[in-house]
Symmetry: C2
Subunit: 214 residues, 2 copies
């Protein structure tokens, strides 16, 4: 099992502060994500500018694509995204449309596990050749005080067994990393923890925990 | 039951052509929608510019909000949207966060019915005071040749009975309008049919069908 990478989610509402945050932690993270809030705040230009500023990072465009898959995927990949997120609630035809464009660009699709998704859905995504999914506590669920549960961890293990590599997110802090040992983890995604002034220290602490458990 | 309104979905990838399309049909439609593709293509500025150009239309921001609800809702409503779409796959805490902001701005939330939503979900949305939902064939499902079915119509009737007014979309053409007679319909949403050069005629034909069946 390869070591999980560290991903910063940029969820600023405007591009300039997002570029500053990315610049501050770029040397400490492997993956930079244009979060949904930034993608809507600044539009596709956010993907273009971050690609330009960080040509060697993996760049994620977090659109949580739910429909119009082919067009959105083309826009995101042409602007320089490596990975595009697609909602688990999208029709399988939408997921397939995104995957087809991803293949043309030699990029990847990540399924965002929101809503009442099923393991049958997960098998259908795998059958399309999709290798990645994102597992998270909803940001709003997190704000409502819902923590990581055994149920979460069991679901992650089952998705791992189906061959999906997971990016894990939702208020990730260094002290949580040990919970996910043994799960096929592609990245740990953090937003606010890495965007703070102590972002570099937080990233280093996450990296240290990863080294301990993987 | 009030007469359904007509909504144009702007799904251009850039703002200028979208403004032109809106201008062409503004006098023929009641509701203008910044589609997800346009919202990502041009960012929140698309909402601002369309609000400015069409101060008297109902303006929808189709973000299919799935997380980060409070921030996205605030952005959309501050930019001038009247209605914001929220994915049926969003955590109920996200839906509640969006509804709270909508109430503060005296605007409305529309639930976009994607994924494995349930009638229990629909009751939970109603319990939050949400009055609108959007029912559609997925654009990609439509491209894959999946038509309107009895199952669709039965679901719509059941949602009507729960007190949800529906906006209906997915390749809407005048000849389909009669199918939805008796359903509590807020708007019929069309994109490409209204964006074409014959957009005004199509809108007039839809209006004529509405007059016949409502």
């Amino acid at each position: 099992m390869s070591k999980p990478m560290i991903q910063i989610a940029l969820d600023q509402t405007q591009l300039e502060p997002a570029l500053k945050v990315a610049e501050n932690v770029a040397n400490y993270v492997d993956v930079i994500e244009v979060g949904t809030i930034l993608a809507f705040g600044a539009g596709i230009d956010a993907v273009r500018q971050l690609r330009k500023a960080h040509p060697n990072h993996i760049l994620v465009c977090d659109l949580k694509t739910t429909d119009g898959g082919a067009i959105l995927a083309k826009m995101a990949f042409e602007a320089g995204a490596d990975w595009l997120t697609v909602s688990a609630a999208a029709h399988i035809a939408t997921v397939a449309a995104c995957k087809k464009i991803a293949d043309e660009f030699q990029r990847e699709i990540q399924i965002e596990l929101y809503g009442h998704w099923t393991y049958e859905d997960a098998k259908a995504w795998r059958a399309l050749g999709i290798k990645q999914a994102i597992y998270h506590r909803s940001r709003d669920a997190e704000l409502a005080g819902v923590g990581w549960t055994d149920e979460d961890l069991n679901k992650m293990r089952k998705l791992s067994e189906l061959g999906l590599e997971l990016s894990i997110t939702g208020g990730i802090v260094p002290e949580d990393i040990h919970l996910f040992a043994g799960i096929s983890t592609k990245t740990f995604i953090a937003g606010r923890a890495l965007a703070s002034e102590s972002g570099q220290e937080v990233a280093a602490a996450i990296r240290e925990q990863i080294a301990k458990y993987w």
